[in-house]
Symmetry: C2
Subunit: 342 residues, 2 copies
Amino acid sequence: MTTNKDITIYDLAEELNLSPATVSRALKNNPIINADTRKKVLDLAQQKGYRSNAFASNLRTQKTNTIGVIVHELNSYFMTAVLAGIEEVATEAGYDILIAHSNETVAKERTNAHNLFNKRVDGVIASLAYDTDDLTHFEPFIKKHIPLLFFDRIDNSIAATQVVIDNVEAGYQATKHLIQQGCKRIVHATANLKRNVYADRLAGYKKALLEHKLPYKEDLVLVNDFKEDTGKLIVEQLLAMKQQPDGLFVTNDFCSAVCIAELKKTGLKVPKDIAVVGFNNDVVSRMVEPNITTINYPGKLMGRTIAERLVQQLKTKKNINKQEQIIVPSELIVRDSSKRKK
Amino acid sequence: MTTNKDITIYDLAEELNLSPATVSRALKNNPIINADTRKKVLDLAQQKGYRSNAFASNLRTQKTNTIGVIVHELNSYFMTAVLAGIEEVATEAGYDILIAHSNETVAKERTNAHNLFNKRVDGVIASLAYDTDDLTHFEPFIKKHIPLLFFDRIDNSIAATQVVIDNVEAGYQATKHLIQQGCKRIVHATANLKRNVYADRLAGYKKALLEHKLPYKEDLVLVNDFKEDTGKLIVEQLLAMKQQPDGLFVTNDFCSAVCIAELKKTGLKVPKDIAVVGFNNDVVSRMVEPNITTINYPGKLMGRTIAERLVQQLKTKKNINKQEQIIVPSELIVRDSSKRKK
DNA sequence: CTGAAAGCGCTAACAT
DNA sequence: ATGTTAGCGCTTTCAG
């Protein structure tokens, strides 16, 4: 029946006839301390189950060694990979991470930002919610010179380090691929064009059309959100068109999977009647039939890259909240959903 | 160019000619404080952008108002729903949550447990990793009377509140359904039988067979993990059997989706040649063709339930770490992957 | 190389 | 209803 009062540096100091200061230094491996002394302290700490009180330490040092991460969703392989990447780098550099997910709403994102601010995180990494366009909730970080970095879903109205893929290029590659497979009328199903990723992919789509002398028609661009039933809706919109499209570029794998299922229900063959390209290389793209051609996104690399950047800023105090864009590679993965030629 | 030194209660006190104590009380809405005084304090705090320093407060009160949540994965709708449920209740009760994911490894789970312990969370909610069988890393919480609760992936070697579904019943329902669809040789593809959920579902499978006078054959039970390629493996094992099975109960929707895809590749028809039932009601179960019959799991309810329990324990200091099991409802959802009869 | 002492910001007895 | 005071556990000058 241990009573479990916490052990403090005073307890250790007393038992070893040292001052708390020395114990503190020893515990931090301060080289100024005699090796023997340090060993004695470390051993006793171990034996007594000492654990540092982060609050006291944070209070004193005004640092938390914590990085806040705001994401718009949690349940995708992409996001999990990003988080894993961030975690690896952060842990190695001695930072903990605090995950807050906004569930795709600005309101929640705002709350999360305030929360992390009040938690006094040393830095923030964020990917914006679907409908965020007002970024005032991030200003407190800027004002206090707390590093704020964005990945994937970014916004240019705040100067910050941004880690992204080249969405224009990705949209271009996807569309070009469909054109090369013989598609002439390509529908582009996407989401909120205020969000950089979707705007850029549309730009890529346009670029590919132009380059191949295909007309850009506004009514072939379908803007919806990506809720569970959106795929159904897209197929309905598609079927309602006077002239049947022969290509479909959806900027989301989940949604493209639903589209394919719906298309098949109507008797249309994928890719024969309509070739489909998705986005993200989510597991689902390898699960449905036909397997979905998609754009691969290096989640883990993105996570590592942005975390490394942040750690660097934290260490050097340099380049904090300075506009800078880092592009990580992305690539088209061709699978059966779009293959019409050998 | 605000210098942004943080505002403290001393700053407010000075400006209002009050003592820090009064300011502190006013900020906490202590009813003993004069309403006018309180208003003055609150207004000034607002105006000056005061934010409470949680470290000082935690250090003083020895509480963190934080709940640690350890989960074995992040990217499933089930888990996201659970987290959302926990968050709702926790937020309402004034607690923050700290999410740590073990990525299905005991090693990471152990680290996370230590981390949360060092972070001095007020309570812990956990769902065990795939291969956790030694729970010593949770003992520090017990020793310090920190409430520790489990959901879904539980273990009976530690006395704790557990929130689960009735896995025996779920396994029973799934199997019975297959039997009712005319299946005679039902393969049960599952995972680590040390983990309660899988052991219980197997028990349900056995019970259904017994009840319908079908023989239980050990070689029809396939134990694997649920990695991405496991579905392929399962189908291989299945095809290698001398006598072809006509039913397949997989305790994971992702995996059952892969199985269905693989079965189709070999020319077998689902459900005609082999009827399939999955588990979890993940989105993917509605995405592949045929849609997968599965067991629905009320994630959000589970999250809310366990968080309510924890908050209660925290408020009352009663029933902490006492063995108690709460069962939330689950149900079979019949879809096309198993429907052989009208 | 080690120690003394102050202070980070807040809260809670204990006064008044 | 408000003020005084001490202390939570740690780090860090400054002194020795």
